[in-house]
Assembly symmetry: C2
Amino acid sequence: MKMDNSPARGMRDLLPADVAVRDHVLESITAVYRQFGYQRIETPALEDIGRLSSGQGGDNEKLIFMVLRRGLPAELEAGARVRDLVDLGLRYDLTVPLSRFYGNNHAWLPMPFRSLQTGPVWRAERPQRSRYRQFTQCDIDMIGEPSVLAEAELIEATSCALAAIGLKGTTIRLSDRRILSALAEQAGVPDEARDAVFITLDKLDKIGWDGVRAELADQGLTAEQISAVESLIDTLTGLPASRLPDTLAASLPELPADVITDLAATTASLDALGVEQPVTWEFDPALVRGLGYYTGQVFEIMHPDMSGSVAGGGRYDKLIGRSLGDDVPACGFSIGFERIVDLLERHLGRDALAVLVEPDVPVTDALAVARRLRGPVGAAGQGPVVEIVRRSGKFGTQLKRLASAGYTGFVHVHMEDGATVAGAERPLSSLGPGRLTGPGGLTGPGGSQARAAHRPRAACRSTVVPGSSLVSCPPATDISRVTSASPLWFRMSSWMAKPREGATSRK
Amino acid sequence: MKMDNSPARGMRDLLPADVAVRDHVLESITAVYRQFGYQRIETPALEDIGRLSSGQGGDNEKLIFMVLRRGLPAELEAGARVRDLVDLGLRYDLTVPLSRFYGNNHAWLPMPFRSLQTGPVWRAERPQRSRYRQFTQCDIDMIGEPSVLAEAELIEATSCALAAIGLKGTTIRLSDRRILSALAEQAGVPDEARDAVFITLDKLDKIGWDGVRAELADQGLTAEQISAVESLIDTLTGLPASRLPDTLAASLPELPADVITDLAATTASLDALGVEQPVTWEFDPALVRGLGYYTGQVFEIMHPDMSGSVAGGGRYDKLIGRSLGDDVPACGFSIGFERIVDLLERHLGRDALAVLVEPDVPVTDALAVARRLRGPVGAAGQGPVVEIVRRSGKFGTQLKRLASAGYTGFVHVHMEDGATVAGAERPLSSLGPGRLTGPGGLTGPGGSQARAAHRPRAACRSTVVPGSSLVSCPPATDISRVTSASPLWFRMSSWMAKPREGATSRK
């Protein structure tokens, strides 16, 4: 009986091409961050439900997958409360676990600690296109560094990580949460209206000033207050590093001096980075970044191919300390991993060599040919991919299928006069789709034309090695990986032509 | 208020050194399997509870972390059944998800499909030493290959993967589930007693023949039956490839011929592999491997440093097909990832260069020095790790701390006459622990002796570059990474000496 084999609602299976793209992105990011001294940590997927529901997660707390206590009776008593049945939940972000992790392990960590976390998180959101209930987050955080070194380094490292993935020409948007506060103060916005005003300002690039003015009026701001807000933001937006400190000091006299010097240090560092990398930045006082826990500079990175940001972060000095009962300075940057993966193409290319084995070739010989071609294995990522593929159907059709599946070459292994013959390594790309599909091409009876095409008689005279049962074909072209092959022995057992009882082959 | 920051019961945090070991093992395994043509796939952590509870998981189904349905009322009605509150569970292995994955995606997968899966699984076991409720499994499977090519290749690939991790000198134990059945038949063991007899035989290497005989007698076997079982196993155990087929045929006349030819092919392949790698194998008819779903050859790999196996697997032709309503041949091998990780030492060595920055050096300059030393970033895993570290405490003490934390060298950055001075790159290992801790060593007032030791005056004359505010120290030794350094500019802002309000530094 055929079952429904879909993944659970809102989840997805990742096919080899999907995983390859994700691995490429993660490996690129990790390699860059590692060069800046960030170290990977991991925390469990499950956390105590009380910790996940503490309020820090905001609306995400409504989306927790909750896990039943073990050892419950099969039937519950009347009036049982759902909350009492639950002791664990799946994490909905990596920041709550990081805070707990730092509290638990800070004694063994360097100071400051540069953390790199990548891993799945779960949210029971309404499933929709490109939004899944399990998705990967990728965060770096510097914990314990009070100075603006943290901000400047995080932005530089993340810009480099994005460039390593292939996202070049990024723009950094930068502000400081305290500038927004000073601006609201200066414009006479009442304290109780601030949060709503900030949320509205965050939409400026989507709804424009007309929309923002209307919303601010709805929130009860006077025309003078709205005008003051608009004027201040207009004056400050896009200032270059050279004019930023003086203009900030003049426009917002209440702004603490260290906000300005910190911003000057970050922007000077970004100017220096911009000399060597195609990275630009702009000061944007209307940048809010949603999360309530930011206390200082906030930033995000934009890429021309994407609306919205590809990465965002900021300083949050009051959060990590909650797990320790003591404030700990911290600054973090989160890369929009899933958004970036969605941008990238899936490449079929596997750069693999097929050992194309006729059904009557003994298993032992097939493995030996593959082993010889593979050479020493285990040097990380260095050696060739050599995959045993059984010969089936028409030769030319199979070669075409292999080429379109991303195989770059093949070696044909067959039996001749009771001996195993390994042909030369032949490229698959050089056959070209035109030749494979052209009229009168490779569709002759028994694939004989295809066979001739891949192994020209003249170039490949079979030679029997004296004193051995090996027969090998000299390579048609100079292929260093196989020219050094020494004799292979063979056995007479047959394989592959013999499906097991009950086994069926699938399309 | 200080909170309890432990992970949830039975779970654990992974510190950087833990993750580094795990990453090394996973990367080594993955690199090898990739060379054999295995491709990574991923499935969600959550599966429908009905699929997880279908009986395939045996006792593991009692250990499922069950996830509450969303949208339940806060209070439950009387008589509510726990099972009805649950729709999802965390996977307890990777085989159940693989079976669903293949059913869902086989149309897009090659035939046969070589699958590589690594990822966390969850079991609500009673927590105990080295056994966690979340742990990593690492499986390869060849799906759709009926011939013994699957078995022979899986064993070879896994032996190579273990060797790549550093586990050499492994021994493969090998048998076939059908040999055990024929043996029971031959010895006259009643059908209904077989499962219990097999479970007992699996303990032979732990309890010896005395123990096995006693258990078999308890299970109601006659003295003749027990003696026949013992005699058959003794006759067959440890046979070399040359004698295995004839002895099997003579001892177990009911055994199907293809069991013998398949075993001959696998053992011949292992003999061929053994010529090139330090791998041995032994035939062990008492090998059972617990999982009920094996249908053919079963195997495990032993390593001299470990009791029990480091990897195990076999053919299971009746399982994958359940998701398709049709049998699909399959063969798998699972590496005991957590056991192997436990065997390996944690190395502190990070191979990192510290940019040791005095508090009055501008952030921009610190970042620029690090950037110059790092060179181009992003070439996967190639470049040096260059980490900015703030100077604090006594110089010698800090160098000692850096050396013991695995830093291999440092560059000292300080201010001199208002200019930023980057010293030469100095190795940390050459200072040696003896010099750092010896009497009269580096503990002089203000760290002056340490300072002298790390930056000999004669070797490092500060030079002001004309027309620039850069001052750089020529390297004391030839260090190619820094000799090409061009002038760095500086700014007068200060940083690092200024903790934010409310921030505390932690030990």
